[in-house]
């Protein structure tokens, strides 16, 4: 059954996933080409100095990509479900409803996690090629709030997609955006280090929001 749910989610979202993967690859490649170019044009010393002294980000181009990926994947997976209330067919399948939704979310989270892990690893390898270990780690610490923000934006977008009442969706959008903004306040590497744990806790908590919408859908709120 799990295989079948994953199959359905894959059919719905494969093109979006392909586009997201393509954009990530292109932006990562551009980021490294840009570092290379800065080394040539400004000189290695000057560029290192900018990073160390002024905290200039080398990977800023990917900042909002996880956020957009999460939103797009949520739309690709859940808008077809809510269109014509197809979710009724999904929930009618012989499986506990909460389990069904968890597997659907699981597919999205696994896809995003894989994509983000590859991004993180590629960035780590690339950074270690261009910079010393300390600067590489420093730059990497800048990325993980953005990646966590991607998962949070996915879950909050699902929360909004599954909400059956349009007016309520608009109202949910505001706290959703505020919550997501928490992950993107500061570009300074290491700025999030003291409270990354709270951000991760928020991502886990976002799962509960999805079930809030599911209960409202089941009650036939209009």
């Amino acid at each position: 059954m799990i295989k079948s749910i994953f199959y359905k989610e894959w059919i719905k979202s494969r093109w979006v996933l392909l586009v997201i993967a393509g954009v990530f690859t292109s932006v990562l490649a551009y980021s490294f080409m840009n570092i290379s170019n800065n080394f040539r044009v400004s000189g290695v010393n000057e560029y290192w100095e900018l990073i160390v002294q002024k905290g200039i980000s080398s990977m800023g181009y990917i900042k909002y990509l996880p956020l957009l990926s999460g939103m797009l994947l949520a739309i690709a997976q859940f808008v077809p479900e809510i269109t014509n209330k197809r979710l009724k067919l999904t929930l009618h399948l012989p499986m506990a409803e909460s389990k069904m939704i968890l597997f659907m979310l699981g597919f999205g989270i696994i896809c995003l996690s894989m994509l983000f892990s590859v991004t993180y690893l590629t960035t780590a390898i690339g950074m270690n090629l261009y910079f010393c270990k300390e600067i590489a780690c420093w730059n990497l610490s800048e990325i993980y709030p953005w990646l966590c923000g991607g998962i949070a934006s996915y879950l909050l977008s699902v929360w909004i997609c599954l909400e059956p009442v349009w007016k309520q969706r608009v109202l949910m959008g505001f706290p959703g955006l505020c919550a997501i903004a928490l992950f993107y306040f500061d570009e300074m590497p290491g700025a999030y280090a003291p409270f990354i744990g709270y951000l991760i806790a928020f991502v886990v908590l976002s799962l509960a929001f999805v079930f809030h919408s599911l209960v409202r859908f089941k009650d036939g709120e209009q």
Partner: protein, 294 residues
Amino acid sequence: MEMIIRCENITHYYGNRLIYENLSFEVPQGKILGLLGKNGTGKTTIINILNGYLKPRSGSCSLFGEKMEELTPQTKARVGLLLEGHIQHSYFNVKQIEKFYSRFFPNWKKEAYYELLRKLKVSETQKISTMSCGQRSQVALGLLFAQDPDLMILDDFSMGLDPGYRRLFVEYLKEFASAENKTVFLTSHIIQDMEMLIDDCIIMDYGRLLLHKPTKEILDNFHRFRFTCETTPADTSNGTLWNTGHIGSSWETYSFLPKEEVTQLLTRNGVSISNLEQDSLSLEDAFIGLTGKY
């Protein structure tokens, strides 16, 4: 006889608009029950309540003895559901959707699905979103047959179907239900073809259940009476004559009573009527007689 569906005292409102008050009915095993009503009488609402997708203001429903909001996966596997408009997962193609559903149902009958689809001129790789409503209805029906449920719940299955597809749907359904003692609960606002399908009939009016009787009883006993009367006939609102109306001096009324009793009712108080004729009715005519034209 086991009751497959049981609804007790369902009351529901949308905002301040009453949909039903204390609606109760039961569907025994092996019956095909049709819930008929005009648009907006709450046919889809009852399907949603039955499947646990709508919480009524009060009352409860059960399927196979389980409360609607607590259906177990085992019970869900015994219920085939067709949504209004033959909605399916339209991002799949013909082959993919069969593959998707087959893993959920242990008694999946793949050949039943493909047998029905052979009648359609579609390839296995055709996407459901590119199909006509009639073709989609056959895909949905094929999936239901492959699932082989003990109870089918069909919401407005005739919607958007041309007479050919409608007849095909009805014939397959009748065969399915009668051959294996299956129970079918369906709603429709198109009454043509229903009389060859449904055993029992619930007719809904706005806010209430108008009638719950075997279809045969309605067809055998419910008649239209046409007559000429220059004044207003007596006793047209006593509950035994339905939707009495006239154009000029030509009157018509509907009733379960025999002709003699109808004549007595109409001519009470010395009112004179002439040319009283009794017509046998199709289910569609009977439906109009019971619910009115408007």
